[in-house]
Every structure is written in C-alpha cells, then in structure tokens.
C-alpha cells in the first residue's frame, strides 16, 4: 500500500494526473476525485478569508450559491480582518490536541502566513495537484503556480488568483503621475501629503517596501540574495538603500509620515476623500468597480510603474485538521473552474486575474475571459511593466520588523 501511494504521489508530481483522471473516468471506475466528490457533498465548509472588501465578499457569496446548487455544500464565509487570525485559530486547535475536528476548512492565504503554517505543519499536504481543474493552470509551463513567494507549495495550497501592484491617481489633482520610484520621490516633494503607504505588517504596505527594495537593488549583483532566506550579511548589503530612500520620502507623505493607515484598503477610501492623489493596489480592476459604486471619483486613472510591478499569486489552503476536508477540496476545485475564474476576472465582479492558462483552454472557454468594454479608470490593456517576483518570505517579516524599529514609534 505505501508503495502504491508513493507511486501515486510521484505521478501527481509529474503532473500526469489530468490524463489519468480522463483515462480513468472513461473506464467508469470511481477515481480518487470521485470518491472525494461522494464524501464531500451535503456538508458545510468554513472558508476563512479576509472580509474587508464588499466586492470580494459578494463574489464569495456567489461561490456559495454555486457550490450549494452543485454539491449541496453550505459555504460559510468567515470574514477575517487579517488572515493571521485563522492561522492562530488552527494553532490553538493544535495545542488543544484537536487534530480532526478543526473549525477552519479552507483559508485564503499566501506569503508569510503560508510560510508560518507550512513551518508549523498546520496544512494538509498533497491535495492541490490532484484537483482535476488544477491541470487548467498548465503547471508544466507555469511553475509559478506551485511556488508561493519562492517557497514550493508541495500541494498544500491551490492557486486562486494573481495580482500585480498597480498604481492609480486622481487626474484632476495630478495630471502626470510618477512612472518610476525615483519620480515618485520628486513627485512627492512637489505634492506633499498626497501619497502614503500602509503600515507594515499590512500586506500592501510590505509589498510597497518590497517593490522599492527590488527596484533600488535592480541591476546590482546582490539582488539574487532577495530570493534566498535573509541573512545578516544580505541584509547589510541590501537594506541600507531602502532606509535612505524612505528617510527622504517620509517627510513628504500624507500626515508627514507620522501616521500610516493600518490597512491597505484604507488607501482607497483616502483616494475617495481626495486626501490622497496617488495610491496603489494589488487588484487593479477593483478600481473601476469602486468608481461605479461612487467610492472613487470619476477622474481616477490606473497605470503600471515603468520600472516594474511586484507580482504574486494568492492561494487557498486546507488546514491539516479541517473537519470537512473532502468538501473543501470540492469547493477549491470549483474555484479553479473556468466558470468561477472567468466570473472573478470580470471588472464589475472582482477583477482578480485568473490563474488558468488561457492557451490551454478551448476557444469557447477563452471567450468567457474577454473583457467587456474597458472602463476609463481601469488599467489599460497595453500597459507593459516588467514583473518583479516576490522575494523569499523571510524578507517580509524582516522588513516589517526593521520598519517598526525605525518608524514604528515617533
């Protein structure tokens, strides 16, 4: 038995699974996934996901109605302020020796939270690659789908969407926005108090720091060290540039850099209030949606920085002790379906970029991903910006820690 399992695992890893599934289905024998399908029906799934955006919450509500119809699964969105709340919960359960009956069935996660859960063995392994719809991401060609901030996912999480750091500005207040990090500094001097970034450990705030760190060390031989665990030597080599830059930038930030918003999404509200004239986000199409709901002025325009856009993938994971693992896998598989991914990409729904490889889809399926008429405030389709990959997750914690030491108390 262990031998066959080993063989199976090897096959999964070599991604022969999709072929296997089709082959087995045609023979009419219950496949591994069909067993999951039988076990997973008629149960609740508690999906722990950040709940600070009405648009995303509404999309998850739509997911719930779909899996209810398909599998009679009650998908409950547990709205988090911060994903670490769910991480803590699973940890508390582990410490209380609750190894089979956990309250968290599915988590929306990536980066440092994933690294923490993987390190403490809090996630169910080896399930993501066996989802039939995982094959649609064409993992052979897109190795990024099985790496989370340069850490291998080892089947502990399935990709859900991908995002790049996109900037947007109020064209009434500032007709010409800065296109590079250097321009950002000079622009801030001319427009004091009109730009800010969220306080680490907020995800978007740390992302801004990583963008700056990557750009400042661009073309330097030491840059590759950012993709390895941080060491005292690599810190000493790479970080000083960043602090020098921030020291120059902070006096010209909103509130003179004495207060930083705690949550990334607040930047959008400050843009709506016209307190800020320039901000950034990880899900570009939400900007157009916000204009439609009057939360942002009509004069908002989106663009990508010319010196690079930090890009990453966000995932869904299942805790090792989830009470409804089979049901969670069914939901995850549906989240990777063409229907769910196409809907998610629509600007008016959420606008989160799909993880599916469109070239691997049929023309009819590809059709579903074509955008409707582009919105004035949305990111132009032709905007090209070099993708900057996420550094090793250890840098996130380090940046947060060092930032708080320098700027956390003023």
């Amino acid at each position: 038995m262990p031998k066959t399992r080993l063989v199976l695992r090897y096959m999964r890893l070599t991604l022969l699974l999709s072929a296997l599934v089709t082959a087995l289905t045609s023979y009419g024998q219950p496949t591994h996934f069909e067993t999951i399908q039988q076990q997973g029906q008629n149960q609740p799934v508690y999906f722990h996901a950040w709940g600070g955006d009405a648009q995303i919450n509404a999309y998850i509500q739509w997911l719930a109605s779909e899996v209810k119809a398909a599998y009679n699964i009650d998908l409950v969105h547990v709205k988090l302020n911060d994903t670490s709340e769910a991480v803590n919960r699973v940890l508390a359960e582990k410490s209380a020796a609750n190894h089979n009956n956990g309250q968290v069935d599915l988590i929306w996660i990536n980066g440092a939270n994933f690294a923490a859960m993987a390190k403490n063995k809090l996630l169910a392994p080896d399930w993501a690659f066996e989802l039939p719809n995982f094959a649609l991401t064409n993992p052979d060609k897109n190795p990024a789908m099985s790496r989370d901030f340069s850490l291998p996912t080892q089947g502990m999480e399935a990709p859900w969407g991908q995002a790049a750091l996109t900037f947007y500005y109020d064209s009434v207040a500032t007709p010409v926005p800065p296109k590079t990090l250097t321009e950002l500094l000079s622009w801030s001097k001319q427009n004091p108090g009109r730009f800010s970034y969220p306080k680490p450990p907020d995800f978007l705030g740390v992302s801004f720091l990583k963008y700056a760190l990557l750009v400042l060390n661009n073309n330097r031989p030491a840059q590759h060290l950012l993709y390895q665990p941080a060491t005292p030597q690599s810190q000493a080599l790479l970080l000083p540039e960043l602090w020098q830059f921030l020291d120059k930038l902070h006096p010209y930030l909103w509130r003179s850099g004495r207060y930083f918003v705690s949550s990334g999404i607040t930047l959008r509200r400050l843009m709506g209030d016209t307190e800020l004239s320039l901000a950034f986000t990880f899900s570009a199409p939400e900007v157009a949606g916000a204009v439609e709901r009057f939360d942002l002025p009509r004069s908002i325009r989106s663009y990508a920085m010319a010196d690079g856009s930090l890009s990453n993938i966000h995932f869904i994971a299942i805790p090792y002790n989830a009470a409804h693992q089979a049901s969670a896998k069914l939901v995850a598989n549906f989240m990777l379906s063409v229907k769910a991914q196409a809907k998610k990409q629509q600007a008016m729904v959420w606008g989160d970029r799909t993880v599916l490889d469109l070239s691997a889809l049929t023309p009819k399926q590809q059709e579903k991903f074509k955008p409707a008429k582009p919105h004035l405030s949305a990111l132009p389709i032709n905007s090209n910006s070099p993708a900057l990959s996420e550094p090793h997750p250890s840098w996130s914690n380090l940046l947060t820690h060092e930032w708080l030491k320098r700027y956390g108390a003023q």
């Binding site: 600070g52 547990v78 309250q103 306080k199 607040t266 016209t274 002025p297 700027y407």
Partner: protein, 555 residues
C-alpha cells in the same frame, strides 16, 4: 443563588487570566515552549515606543474620564432644578446605546480633513480646495481618542447620576437640602457643589471606576480614532495576538499582564485624585462662601453643552449623508446625488449578521435576566442584602480589561468544547451583559414597596405566586429597560464575539469594525447606522410596551 451568579462571573474571568499568565511566562506547549522564562517580558520591554503606548493608554483614559466626569457634574450643577436636565438626558440617552465602534466611525467622519466639519467651512472660510493635511483623527496625543471616549462616557455617567437622584429618598432629601441652601443665599451652583455633590458622589464612584477601567483598555475607539506609531497598549496587544509570527503571543500575553497594571495604576490615580480633592475642598464646604463665579460656570456649561450637542448632531448627519451619497468631492458640503444603492447592497449581505446579533443578544440577555431575578428574589426571601464584596464582584468583568482575560478564556473554551461557537459567544456575552442587567434591575427591585408582597402573603399566596403575580407585573417596565440595556450591551460587543466565535459568527458590530477601516465610507456608514438603529429599537419597545400593556389600568 448569589454563589452561582458570582461563580458564573468570576470563574471565567479568573480562568481566562490564568491562561494568559502562563504564556506570559513563556509556557506555550503549542509552540514547543515548555519552560518558564521571562523572555515575553524582555521582548515586551524592548518594543519600540512602549513608553508612548503606556502614556497614551493612561492619559487618554484618565483625561477622557475626568472630562466626562467634570462635564457631568457641571451639567448637573447648572441645570439641577431646571427642566433642561431632563431634556439633556433625553438627548444624550440614545448616545448610550450607540456601540463604541459606531460612535468612533461617526466621529472619525466628522473630524477627518475631508469630513463634514471642514467641508462646512470650506472653501468660503478656509480657502481649502483640497483637504488639508492635518493630524486629526489619529493624532499622536490621543486627542481624537479622548473626544470619542468622552462623548461615550458622559451620557453613561449622567444617567447614573440621574438614576441615583431618582431614588425616592435620596432625591427628595437632596432636592430639599438644595432648597435650604438656596434660601440661605447660596448660589445654585455653589449649593450643588457643597450640598448635593458630597452625597451624590458615592453613587457615582464605582461607575466612574468602571468607565475608567474600560477606557484604559478599550480597543474599538483607539483602533478607529487613535494613532498607530505607536498605538495604545490594548491595540498593540490585539495586533500581537493576531500577528503572523506566532511567538509574538508570548509577548502579547506579557502585554496583557502589563495592561492589567496600567489599568490598576489608572484606577489608583483616580483614587489619589479623589483623596486630594477631598482633602483640599474639605474646608471650603463649611467656610460659608456663597458664590464662586457661578455665572461664569453656567455660561461655560451652556457653551460646552451646545458644543457637545452640535458635535453629536453633525456626526449623525454626516453618517446619514455618507450612507446615501453619490459622488461627493471635497469641498462640496452636500453630495452630488442622493441614492439608496449602498443600503440596498448592504442589506443583501446583512441578513445573517442581523439574525446572529438578535439571537445572541436575546439568549444572553434572557439568561442574565433570569439569573438576576432569581438572585434578587432569593435575597428578598432570605431577608438580607448582598454583601459589599459580592456587589463588587459583580463589577469584576467591567473592571478587568477584557483584552487581558478574553484570550485566555478562548483557550479555555477550546479545551472544553471547541465545536459550540454559538454557546461560547453567548456565554462570553453573558459576562458583560449580566453586570449591567443586574445593576439596572437591582435598585428597582429593592425599592419595590414590600407591603404589596406582605399583603399577598397574608392572604395566603405562596412566595412563588407573590413573585409571579405581584412583583413581576409591577417590575415590568424596569425589566423591559433591563432587557433593552442587556440587548444594547450584547449588540455592541466586539472582542467577546470575534474571539470565542473564532470569527465564525458575524454580528453587525464585527462587520462594522471590519469595514470601519475599509475602502468605503458609504458602506461603513450604513453599518454604523444599522448598529445604532438596532439597540434604539429595543429601548423604543421597552418604552412603548408598558404603555400598551397597561393602557386600561390607571397606574
């Protein structure tokens, strides 16, 4: 019966505290930390800006409580014999039931640079075409926190003071003594300070301390209005507990213990302050001086009261406008267009939170009412009042910062029954609802004219019958008010919902806090307003039902 009540309140608090103390000293087996150490404390004391955090927690709590207390006294003194006292009470009363989160959101919207306040003055007076970059809210001195806390504390203290005066004997005596002082030529305000206040303060003391303890460790208001470089200690603890880095939990537990010390220190400072005032004012009580700038104080009070009222009215108006606003670019005083889109889209997502809010509120309050009535009836049948120790213990969940024991309580609950999220949340709410229900009902119960019960008993009615048919109907209005108060307290709970429920149970309050720092002013306004409407409905019912039930009786 009191034993059960006390056990119910004290055991969870102490159990929770114990479960915070152990991790604080480095004992957290889940992380493989099995040895006692003080590294949590050394990490805590190495935190950048810890002194600022402590100062902020301490000063915002003490100043806001002092401000609220002084204003309560000034309002009482200036309007002691005037119909305005009742009017101010009716105007401020509704503020009491507004959850802290909603109040903080409303105030933030008012004082923010693009808020209603600067829109009203721009550009005609200020010449601002774009919002200025001033530091309100989130100022490093905690002024915004103080404003928020004061506005929430003032109505509470005022209602407690008026409640004490509405006790028949005390009220009558004090009003009579005040009149005597007036006839001796004392200025009304001097008369209040010299005659009424010394007798009234003992009734205010415990509530003031509860308010102070709450303010020193509250989370919602500093989270929404406070600075974050650094934040107050309580907010920092919350962040540490929720941090990705799980070892920070040890530091957070140590922080929770430090929070306890901060709270105790703040309470001690109040007591010292109290003693100083007593010491220096003792002589002036009997020095016979009739007048101390009474007119000036009166004008000052008028001014402060008007200011207070306008802040409240403007904050409310701002919320209502945002909830129906289309595009609304600064510095326009009104939105371009009014629409109901935000209410519609919010309502489509609000049903479950509203059902949860009501379910938990009614469950916790009904249990609290049942236990309170049982305790009070037992007390009367046995013929002795609760000892002062027991009365103090009832206040325990109000005096010990919830952030200090709730995390421990959650660990405890997880070990006992992790699958019953609703039960855990209702139980945690009960800890906070019970003291209020008890305090609100106890005085009415004890003031009940005992002769009714005696007549009933002498006619042969069993104690149970007397309780059900004589006492309960007489107490109905008081019970309904206690019910409404209990519901309001339960509706407004944030930490006791989010922690024991594991975030699984969403109420209007958890949704409002999650969205308060979110992307949309419009959506958070809708939630904040809903948060205000729900408890308001409870009090409206408590006020209308007795009128309806007793409409045929001449009472």
């Amino acid at each position: 019966m009191p034993t059960l009540l006390i056990a119910l309140l004290v055991l969870p608090v102490l159990g929770g505290l114990a479960n915070v103390i152990l991790p604080a000293f480095g004992w957290l087996p889940a992380l493989g930390e099995n040895a006692l150490s003080i590294k949590g404390f050394s990490a805590l004391f190495a935190t950048a800006g810890l002194t600022n955090m402590l100062m902020l927690s301490f000063s915002s709590a003490l100043l806001s409580t002092l401000l609220a207390f002084v204003m309560t006294i000034l309002i009482m003194a200036s309007y002691f014999n005037s119909p305005w006292l009742g009017r101010i009470q009716r105007l401020l009363g509704p503020i009491l039931v507004i959850p802290h989160a909603a109040a903080a959101i409303a105030i933030a919207f008012l004082i923010t640079p693009s808020g209603l306040f600067s829109r009203m003055l721009s550009p005609w007076l200020t010449d601002w075409q774009a919002p200025v970059d001033w530091l309100l809210p989130h100022d490093p001195f905690g002024l915004s926190i103080i404003l928020g806390l004061t506005l929430k504390e003032l109505p509470f203290l005022l209602l407690i003071a008026l409640g004490a005066l509405s006790q028949k004997e005390l009220g009558k005596t004090l009003h009579a003594q005040h009149k005597v002082a007036l006839s001796l030529g004392y200025c009304p305000i001097t008369a209040f300070f010299k005659v009424v206040l010394p007798a009234l303060y003992p009734y205010l003391r415990l509530p003031v301390l509860a308010v102070l303890a709450y303010a020193s460790a509250s989370v919602e208001i500093p989270l929404i209005l406070g600075p974050n470089t650094p934040p107050t200690l309580a907010v920092a603890i919350l962040h540490w507990f929720n941090d990705v880095d799980l070892t920070l939990r040890i530091q957070a537990s140590a922080g929770a213990l430090l929070q306890l010390i901060v709270t105790l220190f703040t309470l001690t400072c109040w007591l010292v302050l109290e003693w100083l005032v007593k010491f220096f004012a003792k002589n002036s009580l009997t020095n016979g001086q009739r007048e101390y700038a009474g007119q000036l104080i009166k004008w000052l009070t008028h001014l402060l009261t008007t200011l207070l009222m306008s802040v409240i009215v403007m904050a409310l108006a701002g919320l209502i406008l945002w909830s129906v606003a289309g595009f609304w670019r600064f510095p326009a005083a009104l939105p371009e267009k009014l629409l109901f889109m935000h209410w519609q889209s919010a309502f489509s997502q609000m049903q479950t939170p509203i059902i949860n809010t009501l379910l938990i509120g009614f469950a916790a309050t009904s249990i609290a009412l049942f236990l309170t009535l049982l305790t009070l009836e037992a007390e009367q049948q046995r013929g002795y009042e609760l000892s002062s120790l027991v009365s103090l213990l009832i206040y325990l969940p109000m005096l010990i910062p919830s952030i200090a024991f709730l995390f421990g309580l959650v660990w405890l609950q997880e070990q006992l029954s992790s699958r019953h999220a609703y039960f855990n949340v209702i139980f945690s709410h009960l800890l906070f609802v019970l003291p209020y229900v008890f305090l609100s009902l106890a005085s009415s119960y004890r003031l009940l004219d005992k002769r009714f019960a005696q007549v009933g008993a002498s006619l042969g009615a069993a104690p149970l019958k007397v309780f059900l048919q004589i006492k309960l109907p007489q107490l109905l209005p008081a019970i309904l008010v206690a019910l409404a108060l209990g519901l309001a307290i339960s509706f407004s709970q944030y930490l006791p919902t989010i922690l024991p429920g594991g975030g699984r149970i969403n109420t209007i309050t958890t949704e409002a806090v999650a969205l308060a720092n979110g992307a949309s002013r419009r959506v958070s306004s809708v939630y904040a307003l809903t948060q205000m409407i729900l408890p308001g409905l409870g009090f409206l019912l408590a006020w209308l039902l007795p009128k309806f039930i007793f409409r045929h009786k001449d009472l």
